[in-house]
Symmetry: C2
Subunit: 292 residues, 2 copies
């Protein structure tokens, strides 16, 4: 296929060219060649493969659940994160990442004691019924088309492609095949502790350490794949560790207020690292011909 037919939702330019050159270099016999079993790529999910603003989809999913829990058991509203949900404390809720211990408590208790299959069905129901609050479409339609094309190009080039989400593995898994063409077993992410009894796997009230963010990402990638990623893509400070282990590091920059959202908050360190280490910075405004 001629280059001009590849990655059609990417604008021609140095970024698209650098990606195509990289893929060619590792798939063509020569000094940079990498045999297919070692061709691996890992992409962060929120803000990299799909839209993460104004809220993470998983936060939307959890807020609904926390509200239902507090309505069913009003005593819960004495503690976070249930208190913030019931008080509609937008400031607290907007800063979820500043309240990690409370959030983890909320995450692990939200579906404590149900089977992984029942949790899967809850997530499926969320995606079947809820819409993105700004874009007005089901969350499954908020993936970035250029990134879906990149995943497809890598897979066609015999890469094994993983999602590597700071969010929940068992949340992302439910839509990853249909959204990205990435099968369930190739979703890496954070998880609650699990327990087996009598033929079923149950969620329990703990979190698997480390969570799959920051320095946890390279640990999860090794654990799950047995390789360092050949190509990694991210968009935020939590992706720095993963990006620095990859041969090609791709950093998505959210600078398109018209078609998506424009923000560098949470990515300043990553942008500085990109400049220092010559990572490939993708401007959504300049490099994406289409976004969704």
């Amino acid at each position: 296929m001629p280059d001009s037919d590849l990655l059609p939702s990417w604008r021609p330019g140095p970024v698209r060219t650098a990606i195509l050159e990289f893929v060619r270099s590792v798939t063509t016999p020569g000094p940079s060649f990498v045999p297919p079993p070692e061709r691996n790529a890992a992409f962060d999910n929120d803000g990299t493969l799909w839209c993460e603003k104004p809220v993470y989809a998983q936060a939307d999913f959890l807020l609904r659940r926390w509200k239902a829990m507090a309505l069913a058991d009003p005593g819960r509203a004495a503690g976070q994160p249930w208190k913030a949900v019931m008080a509609d404390d937008q400031e607290w809720l907007a800063g979820l990442l500043e309240h990690i211990p409370d959030v983890i408590k909320g995450v692990t208790e939200a579906y404590d004691g149900i089977t992984v299959g029942a949790f899967d069905a809850e997530v499926r129901r969320f995606f079947d019924t809820q819409r993105h609050p700004v874009l007005g479409v089901p969350y499954q339609q908020t993936g970035f088309r250029p990134m879906r094309e990149l995943v497809g190009l890598l897979q066609a080039s015999e890469f094994t492609v993983y999602v590597c989400s700071g969010g929940g593995r068992d949340f992302v898994r439910v839509v990853s095949p249909e959204m990205y063409g990435i099968p369930r077993q190739q979703v890496i992410g954070s998880g609650t502790t699990l327990e087996y009894r009598d033929g079923e796997v149950y969620r329990t009230r703990g979190v698997d350490e480390p969570i799959d963010d920051g320095p946890g990402k390279p640990v999860h990638i090794w654990t799950r794949t047995g390789y360092r990623p050949l190509l990694a893509g991210g968009n935020a400070d939590g992706d720095i560790a993963m990006l620095e282990t990859a041969r090609l590091a791709v950093l998505i920059r959210h600078d398109d207020a018209g078609r998506e959202f424009a923000y560098d908050a949470g990515a300043q360190r990553a942008l500085a690292a990109a400049a220092e280490r010559d990572w490939l910075v993708v401007s959504m405004k300049d490099d994406f011909a289409e976004v969704f």
Copy 2:
């Protein structure tokens, strides 16, 4: 391909027929059909895919390391498992599974603080230089040929096939591609805790809970695959939980003293469960035309 050409190292009979029937039933349109993404199989490693007697290969690997550690630092010989190694306490060493806390201490300290890449190289060196103490061949040649054929048949039938070892994931990974045609990312197993810093993933002195044995196996399989196994194969009591989650459970029975080893020790509960639940019991003596 006609049935008679499939699984050539299996003797014709009800066991081989049941396996072929099962594979046909899930791959042929009809009530038992399973779409390819959901076709998953998980096999225990020690005693199921390769020989585990007279010692686990990983035990051989560790005993050598423990001895080197105690020679370098004689104070270590005051505590287990170093004490047993230095005293050549065969009774203690033969019952490793009865000393799990000491063994875990030995496992996690043996390669504490080195990178996962350096550990990989240590394992590679072991396999390149050591031989099975009874069979006299490199450990890589102690895999069971009929099981390798079964893995291949499943892969040709669009199954994703996993090793699910109670032993170390990062140990088995090194030889799984060459021995079984199972890629590194499809090796599930126990692991030490890991830590990322400055571009590298290091082994640290802890164990990831649960270990991948007994009730830990279905937990690891879910975590790694997002599915229950369609087919699972094991040979010991530690495989019962995994086997009871599978649609087809295959239990290997070591009853061939002439060509391998004959023992039911450690498998009595599994054999009882197999009889009760109609699992498929494979007699190595009767059902394997060739063993290695």
